[in-house]
């Protein structure tokens, strides 16, 4: 398979865009015309060839540019990549999972040769060709989590399982929707989710935790989460809020189409074998409103979801400043016709 990798930016001049062919495969997060939280988890099997659900770790046309943006974030703020000392085994589990998966799913782009504990890894898009001893961090240029984290799209958190809970004890987090790894590292499942309104009362997190604690090896799961971002900016961290916060005031009815982006997180969950930890990839997909509405079903549905979104969620997801404007703009794409169930365009 050939992927033409785009050369684009997620900051400053924001040259990011989706190729027309890339639009219909977008993981549109709304299977129906209204939205409320749920523990909307399903098995992460290969489904729907060509979609982001086909492979374990989806690689798309934005791969190379995303990794460049990650490198810029880390150069500026190394605290976005941290691992507590006991998480080294888990980090190696992460290295193995990503390398084995990518070499299997994209053999034209990634190659992995294993000879005992000597591993040879080739990453063609990033022009990496390294050999190392599996499990021996001194044979890698940096911490194993950072090493592979710089080569895989999406933020990754590694959760230690103990005391009937999950603990965010390591992560490489450069494309987050407004949470700080440096602050949250060391917290348990309920603590790091503490700021989310409504969900705790609904028991969403209790059920999610129970599910994750029993996640077996070899049976990953996935779910979708979403928010909106102004400009195709990946780094919407609290650390840099003074940089991206002001973007919200630049939205006006004339530029909604190009400025407001639907930001979808494809979250997957994997049991790691040697550490018994859970790997939690958070893969972010961005699509401008103009691009979203090229699919009539999505245009209709997005209008309805946004129009009826609960105020607490509008507030929590940081949409307040431009939400009414967005609903008005989307109305033109909603003729009231019924929409088919499921997320993919007709």
């Amino acid at each position: 398979m050939t992927i033409h990798f785009r050369n684009e930016t997620f900051r400053n001049d924001f040259t990011y865009a989706n190729s027309p062919g890339n639009i219909p495969r977008f993981p549109f997060p709304f299977p129906e015309d209204e939205y409320m939280y749920s523990t909307n988890v399903e098995p992460h099997h290969a489904t729907r060839a060509g979609s982001p659900f086909e492979h374990a770790f989806d690689v798309d046309e934005h791969y190379v540019s995303e990794m460049k943006d990650r490198a810029l974030v880390l150069a500026d703020d190394p605290g976005r990549c941290q691992a507590l000392p006991h998480m080294e085994t888990a980090a190696w589990d992460f290295v193995e999972l990503v390398m084995v998966s990518k070499a299997r799913d994209y053999p034209d782009l990634f190659e992995l040769t294993i000879d005992g504990d000597r591993w040879h890894w080739i990453n063609k898009p990033l022009q990496i060709d390294d050999t190392f001893v599996f499990g021996d961090s001194s044979t890698l240029p940096c911490h194993p989590m950072e090493y592979i984290g710089r080569q895989v799209q999406g933020d990754h958190a590694i959760l230690d399982q103990r005391d009937g809970n999950l603990w965010m004890d390591a992560g490489i987090i450069t494309a987050q929707a407004d949470w700080s790894l440096d602050f949250d590292i060391g917290m348990n499942f309920f603590e790091w989710h503490a700021p989310v309104p409504l969900a705790h009362e609904l028991g969403v997190f209790q059920r999610a935790l129970k599910f994750l604690l029993s996640l077996p090896q070899g049976q990953p799961s996935r779910r979708l989460n979403w928010t909106l971002t102004v400009n195709p900016r990946l780094d919407t961290s609290p650390e840099n809020y003074p940089k991206w916060g002001p973007d919200k005031l630049t939205v006006n009815p004339g530029n909604i189409g190009e400025k407001v982006h639907l930001r979808v997180e494809l979250q997957t969950f994997w049991r790691l074998p040697r550490s018994n930890a859970i790997l939690f990839p958070i893969r972010t997909y961005l699509m401008a409103m103009n691009e979203v509405v090229t699919q009539p079903k999505w245009g209709r549905r997005l209008h309805r979801v946004m129009r009826d979104l609960r105020p607490e969620l509008v507030e929590y997801k940081g949409l307040s400043r431009y939400h009414p404007m967005l609903v008005d703009w989307l109305a033109q794409f909603d003729d009231g016709a019924p929409t088919s169930p499921g997320i993919f365009p007709d």
């Binding site: 605290g79 005391d163 700080s180 440096d182 602050f183 949250d184 590292i185 060391g186 917290m187 309920f190 603590e191 790091w192 989710h193 503490a194 700021p195 705790h200 609290p238 650390e239 840099n240 809020y241 003074p242 916060g245 002001p246 919200k248 005031l249 400043r321």
Partner: protein, 203 residues
């Protein structure tokens, strides 16, 4: 001094209880200011022989010696008072590095003292779930500026200006046990011209 007046909040905001004797081979009490009263209360109801297993560290309010005297009179195996929380935390680390499993840790006083002592306990191998905490006195907070990572001590206002990067920070209830601090995030990032009234709320 007043009893604790901490309001119900989000899950990550620590909640405190009342100190009560737990079974153990050694009992470490760390307190500041009016937290001493909690230690005295526990000691007064303790069974015979308890105080021989007790180690007390105290950070007094300058000039208030009555509580020092009262704590000393409890007859603990070891009693030290130090001038600052920094000194107390360092000393606690020394004591815990020599201690064994079966050590109970009891903390009483301000959130700043409690939070840092819990973090020190974890650092020394004492799980936070085993530490008892009772809040007394000031509600002033330790705040980490999420932007420049500066730790701001004894914050009493909402919002607070970061002394390092000058941003005006919303003092959130979201709390990190590891950092022993509440999170401070720029309150007017979207519109820096927005003026926000600064009020004394954490007393």
């Amino acid at each position: 001094m007043s009893e604790s007046l901490i309001e119900e909040s989000i899950l990550s905001r620590p909640k405190y209880g009342q100190l009560a004797i737990a079974p153990g081979l050694a009992h470490y009490f760390v307190a500041d200011a009016s937290g001493a009263e909690c230690v005295i209360r526990v000691a007064q109801t303790a069974p015979k022989g308890f105080m021989e297993k007790v180690h007390i560290l105290y950070v007094p309010t300058p000039g208030e010696n009555a509580l020092i005297t009262a704590l000393y009179a409890l007859g603990a195996k070891r009693f030290e008072h130090v001038p600052t929380i920094d000194a107390a935390i360092a000393r606690l680390g020394d004591w815990l590095s020599e201690s064994k499993m079966g050590s109970q840790l009891y903390l009483a006083g301000t959130e700043g003292l409690i939070g840092r002592a819990v973090a020190k306990g974890e650092e020394c191998g004492l799980d936070h779930t085993a530490v008892q905490c009772e809040h007394r006195g000031s509600l002033a907070r330790r705040v980490q500026c999420v932007h420049c990572k500066t730790m701001i001590e004894k914050v009493t206002t909402q919002p607070v200006k970061c002394p390092s990067c000058d941003l005006l920070l919303l003092v959130r209830d979201h709390y990190s046990r590891r950092l022993a601090a509440f999170q401070g995030v720029c309150i007017n990032a979207e519109d820096p011209t927005e003026e926000v009234e600064i009020r004394e709320v954490f007393k």
